[in-house]
Amino acid sequence: MSVIQVNGLSKHFGALKAVDQLDFSVTEGEVFGFLGQNGSGKSTTIRMLLSLIHPTSGSIELFGKPLNKYRDEILEEVGAIIERPDLYPYLTAKEHLQLFAKLRNKHVGENSIQDTLVKVGLADRSKDKVQTFSLGMKQRLGIAIALLHNPSLIILDEPTNGLDPQGISDIRNLIKQLAQQEGKTVLVSSHLLSEIEQMATQIMIIHKGKKVADGPIQKLLDPNKMIVHIKTTNDAQTLQIILSGSFSNYLLQRTDGIYLRLPDYEIPLLNASLVNAGVGLIGVETRNSLEDYFLQVTSNTIA
């Protein structure tokens, strides 16, 4: 079942097309990684999913219902943090949770509040005012507010902002646990691509408001299409060998070295060709990370 179904979604701010004809869906129980460079339209999309920004065109359905008609009913089942963890500086962590618990139609008792504070690691600071919190602690409290009412869909925009390595690991494990053990659907955007790689089952990359890639992360990071950087004793001769043979189709247009996108079984064959031509191989660096894939689809550096 699709928890999120977006069709032809666009948002224009004057002449600027912040989001342009976006289509995607998120299935129940999935951790959906939402990626894009700064200004690519991620936050605008997330805000449209939360009814904070009115779309210029297109449709959004959450839980199979159109958001524009069933907004209040839908948002009862959604928990979210959007960009920065902005909170009331004069209230304590516990008061924040009590306040937002009241704004939910579901009953959220004191035990749930305490459990949520424990879950995000803020139990011992529950009575402290937010103005004394670090950015990481505010981020944890923001996540607590999002989880407080036990929503089915959790939307987290940059949830690891300001967190230390331990905090990042805690949040990653929490997100995995929410999806795997509690069956929650999580849409998460982050600049930390390695984090998304570790927790997401599906990803979507947008660039200048348009979708440039989406699908299961294993499929996108196909081991048969690794990026290979080769260092040899004679780069000019190496290039000649590559261009004259079957490897020419794999060559990537880069000026900072020789890069190829080729299946892993071709690497020994390339090595043999170079050795036979008397070119010494200094090193072969293979890369197949989400970061490489992201850079490939969002920039012209790697074609």
Binding site: R47, S51, L52, I74, A80, D86, Y90, L91, K102, L103
Partner: protein
């Protein structure tokens, strides 16, 4: 809606800024009361100097009722500025803080959230007015005692019997609540337009000053619009202290000279409140939350 109102009130009364207005009113009233207690007779003599030759006034002129009237004349002009501190910050303050997006992703419609905020701001305004009434009227009655209310108008004097005064103050404070709620709704409208705290507060204060000047200027060009300006009507609480007289020029107990004027003012102020709040709801509903 009840939940939204209680949360908004909770937030208002947890903010230190809220108490600036209560403190400012208390300080101003106490300073004036202290001054009049110490040297009130000189002040009363100064007021009466022009009519001492034609009138002999017995009893306690400088009583709690007159002090309250003096205080209201001085303060009801400034209280709107204190009201604006909170009302003009209700939506824009949250936009500035970034909490508006948290609030607008709860399962309440924007109309409900805006109305809840307006009602909470209105309750704050009423509480502030009750605080003003308590200090200006009841504390003055306690300090200065009570007697007939003797008022000097521009070209006549009004003498209201002691037992005929208190209900007029009740009426005046109820009227003042309409005037201050108009300011609350104006501040609220400004707040729905901006994304920072200072702009709407300054904007509300500027609008009040601007329209007050238009209301008081006797220039024919503005005469046509003056009856429709809220500032023209805000000071009409004083009408409760103008009394009808009989053919012997004696005050008629329990009467108000110009009830129609009060009614008109309340209608104009109420229409302004409805207009400002409706505009706030429409603007907020259409707004993209980008903060």
């Amino acid at each position: 809606m009840k939940a939204i109102i209680s949360i908004e009130l909770y937030k208002i009364f947890r903010r230190p800024r809220t108490y600036i207005a209560f403190g400012a009113i208390a300080a101003l009233i106490m300073v004036i009361q202290l001054g009049l207690k110490m040297d009130g007779h000189s002040y009363a003599s100064f007021l009466m100097k022009d009519i001492n030759d034609t009138l002999t006034v017995d009893g306690k002129v400088l009583n709690g009722y007159l002090i309250c009237y003096i205080l209201l004349q001085l303060l009801l002009v400034h209280v709107p500025l204190l009201v604006a501190l909170i009302a003009a910050d209700m939506i824009s303050g949250e936009a500035n803080l970034g909490t508006l997006r948290l609030l607008f992703t709860t399962p309440y419609s924007r109309t409900q959230l805006v109305m809840g905020k307006f009602i909470a701001a209105s309750i704050y305004t009423i509480v502030l007015l009750i605080w003003l009434a308590f200090l200006a009227l009841f504390v003055s009655m306690w300090i200065f005692g009570t007697d007939d209310l003797f008022l000097l108008k521009s070209n006549y004097v009004v003498l209201i019997q002691e037992k005929d005064v208190l209900w007029r103050y009740v009426g005046a404070f109820v009227f003042a609540s309409f005037a201050l709620l108009t300011v609350t709704s104006l501040g609220f409208l400004m707040s729905s337009i901006a994304n920072n705290s200072i702009g709407p507060i300054v904007g509300t204060m500027s609008a009040i000053v601007f329209f007050t000047i238009l209301s008081t200027l006797n220039i024919p060009l503005f005469a046509a619009i003056k009856p429709y300006l809220f500032t023209t009507h805000m000071n009409n609480w004083k009408e409760f202290f103008d009394i009808k007289v009989n053919e012997n020029n004696e005050a008629i107990y329990g009467t108000i000279l110009n009830v129609a004027k009060i009614k008109t003012s309340i209608i104009v102020l109420t229409l302004h409140i409805i207009l400002f709040v409706t505009a706030s709801v429409i603007i907020t509903k259409r707004k993209d939350i980008l903060s």
